[in-house]
Amino acid sequence: MSRQAGHGPLVAFTGLAIAGAGLVVAAACLDFANHHPFPPAIIAGVLLQALGLAISLGHLGRKRRAALAARGAGRSALSNEVILSPAALACAALAAGLGLWGRPMPVVTVIAGVINGLFLVSIGLVYRLRGQDTWRGASVLTPLTGGCAFGAIAIQALSATDGVLNMVLLLVVLDAAVFVQRWREVAAIRIPAASRADFGMSHRGQLLGARFFLLDAMPFFMVLAWPAPLVAGVAAAGLVVDRMAFYALALQRTTELEIAGVEEVLGSLRDPHES
């Protein structure tokens, strides 16, 4: 992956998709738990996801062949994500439309929440690759937990309803627990000398720490006293850092990297024939 020109479109697409789907899941949780429909959150989620979907098309080398991406359904994790993305968007748009019409249906909202949750899981599964050391383990769940945490914080900013605060705290703690596990896993990986100079690898502690503080630690405490829109802004910055850090910390074990590792070991060895 390090040979790729840039991850800008992927950061934008996955960031918007996670934020949008997270809003829908959090709104569905709120509706399910408190019987409190909140269409503005679902509408915002639909807009973010639609924008993300449009950007995702932009990064393809052959945009007109985009529909072919569904051919690998069931075999390819990327195809599964490609199929779930418009399905999640359509369900959320239906729930939002019913809400705007003045006839919100909790069942539709909950179904939209479930499908959007599956979409978030599918984003994580796309990057669970055996040759990529830093994208496995708890990383698979961070789109789901991070998206839900952001969604709950944003709903708190958009609505002053009782009961939202508890959901915010619960989802932020859940995301913190998952993300700390990812942080530990990344920290435990032995980085080859050839990759230590990469910006992401040389700043991995700062990148992961910034993500943790912006999306989890700061909102957890700020939400109790600070203006909710400000907290949502901090969480949005945390989500952007999360995506940038995710791609910056890609560690693909290519043959070149393995050879660099062997060279590193060779440099530390003594000639076995020396007396």
Binding site: R3, R62, G72, L129, R130, T255, E256, E258, G261
Partner: protein, 194 residues
Amino acid sequence: MSGAGFLLDLHRCVGCGACVLACRIENGRVLATAWRRVLPLNLSRRPAGPTYFLSVACHHCEEPACLRGCPSGAYDKRPDGVVIHHEERCLGCRYCEMTCPFGTPQFDEDKGVVSKCHLCAHRLDAGMAPACVAACPADALRYVPAADTPPADAVRFVPGFIDPAGCRPTLHFTTPAGARRVELFRHLDEALRR
């Protein structure tokens, strides 16, 4: 062998790059997106380790990660094990670059699609060896058809070449000969395991 592939004699390969050039000429590749590359190991000639050259291209894996991950079905595996990429089905999403642990797929900015070594399938079908094999002046790179088995002393992995994603590459190596070189090879292998 369960699929067609290459056999590289590490004792014979001198790293001349004739295989890279032959592949580029045969398949019309520029250097930046060449399908084959030669990776030297121990260029500084440290005495504690062997010096050799890994001439690598697509390994036509038994369980190719590119084929499994491709969303548009652009990859196919022929009955003889050759993994073929069909450009006309490629979206240019570059997901195969992420899934392949060997850095095999190459993205062509002009065409907007990925491409990779097809083991010179057109030459194989005409009864000829792949261009890289035919051009090797040291007879270090050989083609092993699916029906044949590699030599008994051939190994699948050497220091610097592993299979991190469980793809089961068909590339095999013949390791350096001679007591001292074998001993050094073992010494390095043990050091890497520590």
